[in-house]
Structure formats: structure tokens, C-alpha cells
């Protein structure tokens, strides 16, 4: 039996518009281990949300998953997600893999009481038993009282709505939860509450979580492993402490150095990224970060994107990953030359 709950191989997701084909996910390989939280961090347009939607097969035509394999593996055996028929995938969603979306406000039905939204979900998935007890159980798991059941979404605060969404996502006992920016719309105090709640749930329910976020600090609060997303690929993946303290890809380094914490010296110049991400509708030769990289060399253009392992369980897609490079200084200097 494999220790991975989900294995993604060579995944390609295409967005099609008029004459263009945008490769939002480009030959992606990664796995989610049982009981872990893997955080995928990237900026807007990097394809991280597309990945979440691809795993649940929520990509609508004309857009398509054109290539790849996704194997889901639990005590019931292996399932190839892309080979499921439409009725099968409907059953599969929520029972095996569920999702919490970014804006809880738009996910809940505004004219249904919270408990009815649960009942609807249970009926759709042929769940039997005492609904009432089940609803209380999951609301409690997400840190809400049973008082919430009879309320409508507009009577709840943002944090409470997000908790309802988490409770709904857990209500069919999935093995894997995809959380797509679940705290982005929340204030810091509430954000911390929700993050702590997710950590607790992971431990108590032995859940695996894919946590999608743009905020490395949030990722650091929940993740066992962190993957850095850039232009539809994972450019670096490793244990949390490694990515935070010793990132190897120049993009990860710059992303990290542009973060302001309460200890960043005031007036210190932040190393930033110049330029913009590559156009994913044309083929990219070599490293996709080449154009913006302050430490690029000519051989980057012929780089075959082979993963360079820098330590056990930690790789980066950069031919200079093993060198000690001061990317921040290089980035600041590059700016002065301009």
C-alpha cells in the first residue's frame, strides 16, 4: 500500500480562448502524503487554483485537462480520477476529496438555512443516519455551536461562514481536503482561529490537506511541506523549515525576501521581482523564470527542467540550486543598473 493519498503525474490543464491555448498547468508532478498538509504557494496566475479545480475535475469545456494521471489511493483501493465517469466523479467529490473555496460568502446559498445546506449535501451523497446529530457533530468540529443551524448565511460573520464551509467540506468524511485561500477574505484574528482549527482537524481526523495560498506566512502556519508554484509548475518543494530558512530557487528566495514581517527593519529596501510572469500561451524554452531571474546564466535556456535534489525530500527546478547565491543583493543591484 502506498503512503500517498494522491499522486499527480505529468498533469496538463489548458484554458482555451479564441485562437489561444494557455497552459495553466504544465507537466506537473507531485504527491500528497497521507496525513500531511502540503501548502502550494504562488502569485496570481501561477495556476495554483487551477490545480485545485483540476483535481476535482471542475474544469469546464472548452478548457480541459489534456494530459496526465491522477491516482487517488485510500483504504478502498486506487482510483484514477481522470478515468471516472461523470456519475462516478459526482459520487467521488466530497466523499473522497472535498474543497473549501476562497470566498465563503459566495459559496453558501443565501436563501437556505445552514442546516438545510447540510441536508442537501447528505442527500446528494446518499448518506444515511441521523442527520441532526451529524450536523451538530461537524459544526462542533469546525468550532461552531448548534445555534448556527437555524440561521441564514447573512446572519453569520465572515469567519463563521468560512467555518460552515469547512464543516460542509468535512461532512461526508473525505480523506483529502483542498483548501483554496480559505482565509484570504478574513481579518487576521479570525484568520488565526481558522488556521488553528484546520491544524486541529488534520490531527484529529487524520486528514490530508492541500492548502493553496499566496501568503508564505500563512503557509508556514499550517504546512508540513511547502511547494512554490510558478508559471504552472512546482519550481521548488520541500519540508516547511527548509523552504522558509533555506530556499534554493531564486524565485522562492525573492518571494521570501519581499515579505514584510513585524521584524523587518523600517526603511530597509525590499528586494523585489521585476518584470512579469511569462506568457503561458507560447512555448517556454528552458526555465520559465529566466526572464526575471537576477542570477540567470545562458545554460538556463537549454535546461530540461530536471528536478535538482538539494537534500532528502527537497528539490528545486533550477540548475544553480546547489550554489550559494545572494539573489536579493543581485536583484537590488540589477535595479540600480536599470
Amino acid at each position: 500500500m502506498s503512503e500517498n493519498i494522491l499522486t499527480v503525474t505529468d498533469l496538463v490543464t489548458l484554458y482555451k480562448a479564441e485562437s489561444k491555448e494557455v497552459r495553466a498547468i504544465r507537466d506537473l508532478n507531485f504527491e500528497v502524503r497521507k496525513g500531511e498538509t502540503i501548502a502550494l504557494v504562488g502569485e496570481s496566475g501561477s495556476g495554483k487554483s487551477t490545480l485545485g479545480l483540476s483535481i476535482l475535475r471542475l474544469i469546464e469545456p472548452p478548457n480541459e485537462i489534456s494530459q496526465g494521471k491522477m491516482i487517488f489511493n485510500d483504504h478502498d483501493g486506487e482510483v484514477s480520477i481522470l478515468d471516472l465517469s461523470l456519475p462516478e466523479i459526482r459520487k467521488f467529490r466530497w466523499k473522497k476529496i472535498s474543497m473549501v473555496f476562497q470566498s465563503a460568502m459566495n459559496v453558501l446559498n443565501p436563501v437556505m438555512r445552514i442546516e438545510d445546506q447540510f441536508i442537501e449535501t447528505f442527500e446528494a451523497h446518499n448518506i444515511e443516519g441521523d442527520y441532526s446529530e451529524r450536523i451538530n457533530h461537524y459544526l462542533e468540529l469546525a468550532g461552531l455551536g448548534s445555534k448556527v443551524r437555524r440561521l441564514y448565511p447573512h446572519e453569520l460573520s465572515g469567519g463563521m461562514k468560512q467555518r460552515v464551509c469547512i464543516a460542509l467540506a468535512l461532512s461526508c468524511e473525505p480523506e483529502l481536503l483542498i483548501a483554496d485561500e480559505p482565509t484570504t477574505a478574513l481579518d487576521v484574528v479570525v484568520q488565526k482561529e481558522v488556521l488553528l482549527e484546520l491544524n486541529k482537524l488534520k490531527t484529529n481526523l487524520h486528514l490530508s490537506i492541500i492548502f493553496i495560498t499566496h501568503d508564505l506566512r500563512v503557509a508556514a502556519s499550517v504546512a508540513d511541506r511547502i511547494g512554490i508554484f510558478y508559471a504552472g509548475r512546482l519550481v521548488e518543494l520541500g519540508p516547511r523549515e527548509r523552504i522558509i530558512s533555506n530556499p534554493r530557487h531564486p524565485y522562492s528566495k525573492l518571494l521570501l525576501s519581499s515579505i514584510i514581517t513585524t521584524n523587518t527593519p523600517r526603511g530597509k529596501k525590499l528586494a523585489t521581482l521585476s518584470g512579469s510572469p511569462p506568457d503561458l500561451s507560447v512555448e517556454i524554452k528552458g526555465c520559465s523564470f529566466y526572464a526575471r531571474c537576477p542570477v540567470r546564466v545562458d545554460s538556463c535556456l537549454s535546461y530540461n527542467l530536471e528536478r535538482i535534489s538539494v537534500e532528502k525530500d527537497h528539490f528545486a527546478e533550477c540548475i544553480r540550486a546547489k550554489e550559494e547565491l545572494d539573489v536579493s543583493t543581485a536583484a537590488l543591484n540589477a535595479k540600480e543598473v536599470n
Binding site: 502569485e43 481579518d187 487576521v188 525573492l254 515579505i259 513585524t262 526603511g267
Partner: protein, 340 residues
């Protein structure tokens, strides 16, 4: 009458001297049906020339309302706001035009704050064209269309859209979010204002882009020496950008002081919770526990402390009497009977 004098003394914590902007007991009430929402509830604040104050707080704390009243986009229900000594509410006519020239605003969303049908040139040049005569008088130079074009291009260069010339005739749709926010900054600075309100200017931007805009703002502030109110829910960036910080809770300023002091040693229980909730790269530790704030407990027009309902140190007095901002150490003010 006696009551009046006591109140007066309380509101003059902030010196009127050398302040460019002065809020005195400013209250703004939004009415919806029978409900009165106190977006601002007796706010006192002063801003010195060249100084930058960050206003932090959660959504609904009134920070945007404060910014809008400061630039006269909203009228306060009570209280007085003075800009360079004159009562903002009474400014009219050509004085108002002058006031508008000197106070500018940068909004949160660069996608909706810039007209998609105007070129970058028209967007940035508009303030110059509207204020043509007075700018000509101020600078002693005729603003020909060539001169305006030159100035706009130079300003675009300054905000990092270089070469400025190449951006002049583009439409906003060709620009990324970060570039649009730079256009908004250029538009705010083209008249060389003395005071700027920046309302969450980086919250819609990606981390790396947001760092660029912050770098830009601090560079420009040094160069143009304007005063700024920087509104943000992001405590770390708020501290980074401003030397002073005011923490707001339900329409009131509950703590004010040097950013370093407020973030490193917060004294108000609310600021303390807020600062401890900021995610850090070190991640959460075993001691981290959720502190919940009971937001439903608030119904407006609170007699005592606005944070009493969720405060771990609450006493009877907190429900009965309103704590006023008091100096707890030089330059550091807290509105709390039991500071941390």
C-alpha cells in the same frame, strides 16, 4: 459648562502646533433604519508635516471612514477636522480647490479607481489640467500641452513606469495591477500635494508587487516630503511604512504611538490580540491559542470601552465609563483602564 472644559482638556492631547491635520472629537454616524452605526466615535488624531501615520484595525473598525473624512469625501456628523489651521467642513469655493490640490487619495482597488476609457496620459494629466491656472501661478511657468506631457512622462518615470513616454498613450487594460497602482500614485502626486491618504494600496496586489509599491511609496515620501495617512489591515506593512501607528477598534482609536512601540509592546488588550494574530514565517507554535472576539456583541453607541465584551481584563468600570486616550509613556497613548 464645567463638563465642557473637562472634555476640552481631554481632546487636546495632540498638540495643535505644527500639525498639518487635526482631528478633534470626530464622530461619524451612518444610519440605517433605526440602527445607528458609529463608524467614527470621538476620534482625536494629529498629523505633523512630513509625518506618516498608519491606521490599522479589522474590517468595520472605521479606518476607511477616517481616511475619507480627512480628505473631505465624507462630512463628519460631529467634531472638527482642521487642515493647515482651517476647518475642513467650512472650506468652500477657490479655497476648496486649493484644499483638493493639497490633499490626494490612493484607493485600494487599482482596477476600479482608474477609468478604463482614459489613456494613462489623460488619467495622470487631468489634475494638472483642472488646476492649470494655479499651478502656472505657483510654478511661474506656462503649462502648454507639451509641458503637461513632459511632466506626466517625468512623473511616470518617478513611479517606476519607465520610460514614461512609452506609457502615455496606453489604456489601463494593457497594465498589470501593480502598474495600475503606480498610475494611481502618479495621479495623486502630480500636483505635489502636502497630504495623502493611501487606503490599503497594496492589499489587492501580489506579495512581490506589493513590496515594489511599498518601496516606491517610501522613496517618494522622502523625495516629496508629504504627510500620509496609510490605512491597512496588514500590521507588518503598516509598521514598515509609517513612523506612527493608530490602532482602531469599532470607530475609536484605542492605541497610538511610534509604530515600533505599538507593534513590539502593545498596551491595549485589543492591539495585543491583533498583533499576536499576524502570521509569521516561524509558523504557529504549541502555545498559540485562538483568541476569539465576539463581534456580535456590538450594537453601536457604546457607553464604556468598545472592547469590553471580549476583553480578558474587563472590570465593571469598563462597561460604565469610556476610557480616553492617555499618555502611558512619552508619545505612546492608550485608551484602557487596565493596560497590558
Amino acid at each position: 459648562m464645567e463638563n465642557q472644559t473637562i472634555k476640552q482638556s481631554k481632546t487636546s492631547i495632540f498638540s495643535e502646533e505644527d500639525s498639518i491635520l487635526l482631528f478633534k472629537d470626530v464622530t461619524k454616524v451612518f444610519k440605517s433604519g433605526h440602527v445607528q452605526n458609529y463608524a467614527l466615535d470621538g476620534v482625536n488624531l494629529s498629523l505633523k508635516a512630513g509625518e506618516s501615520v498608519s491606521i490599522v484595525g479589522e474590517s468595520g473598525s472605521g479606518k476607511t471612514t477616517l481616511g475619507l473624512t480627512a480628505v473631505k469625501l465624507l462630512q463628519p456628523s460631529r467634531g472638527s477636522i482642521k487642515f493647515e489651521g482651517s476647518e475642513v467642513g467650512r472650506i468652500r469655493g477657490h479655497k476648496l480647490k486649493e484644499f483638493r490640490r493639497n490633499t490626494q487619495m490612493i484607493f485600494q482597488d487599482p482596477y476600479s479607481s482608474i477609468n478604463p476609457f482614459d489613456t494613462i496620459y489623460s488619467t495622470v494629466a487631468l489634475p494638472l489640467i483642472i488646476n492649470k491656472k494655479s499651478v502656472e501661478k505657483r510654478d511661474g511657468i506656462k503649462l502648454t500641452s507639451d509641458e503637461i506631457r513632459r511632466r506626466v512622462a517625468r512623473m511616470l518615470d518617478k513611479v517606476g513606469l519607465s520610460p514614461g513616454e512609452s506609457f502615455l498613450d496606453l489604456y489601463p487594460k494593457k497594465l498589470s495591477g501593480g502598474q495600475r497602482q503606480r498610475v494611481a500614485v502618479a495621479r495623486a502626486l502630480i500636483l505635489n500635494p502636502r497630504f495623502i491618504v493611501a487606503d490599503e494600496p497594496t492589499s489587492m496586489l501580489d506579495v512581490s508587487i506589493s513590496a515594489q509599491v511599498l518601496n516606491l511609496l517610501s522613496d517618494l515620501k522622502k523625495e516629496f516630503n508629504f504627510s500620509m495617512i496609510y490605512i491597512s489591515h496588514e500590521l507588518a506593512t503598516a509598521r514598515y511604512i509609517s513612523e506612527k501607528m493608530a490602532v482602531m477598534n469599532l470607530g475609536r482609536i484605542v492605541e497610538y504611538g511610534p509604530s515600533e512601540l505599538v507593534t513590539q509592546h502593545p498596551r491595549h488588550p485589543y492591539s495585543d490580540i491583533l498583533i499576536k494574530s499576524v502570521p509569521e514565517l516561524e509558523g504557529l507554535t504549541a502555545e498559540d491559542r485562538a483568541t476569539s472576539i465576539d463581534y456580535n456583541a456590538y450594537n453601536g453607541g457604546i457607553k464604556g470601552c468598545t472592547f469590553a465584551h471580549s476583553c480578558p481584563f474587563k472590570t465593571e468600570k469598563c462597561d460604565e465609563e469610556r476610557p480616553e486616550l492617555t499618555e502611558i509613556e512619552p508619545g505612546h497613548y492608550v485608551a484602557c483602564f487596565h493596560p497590558v
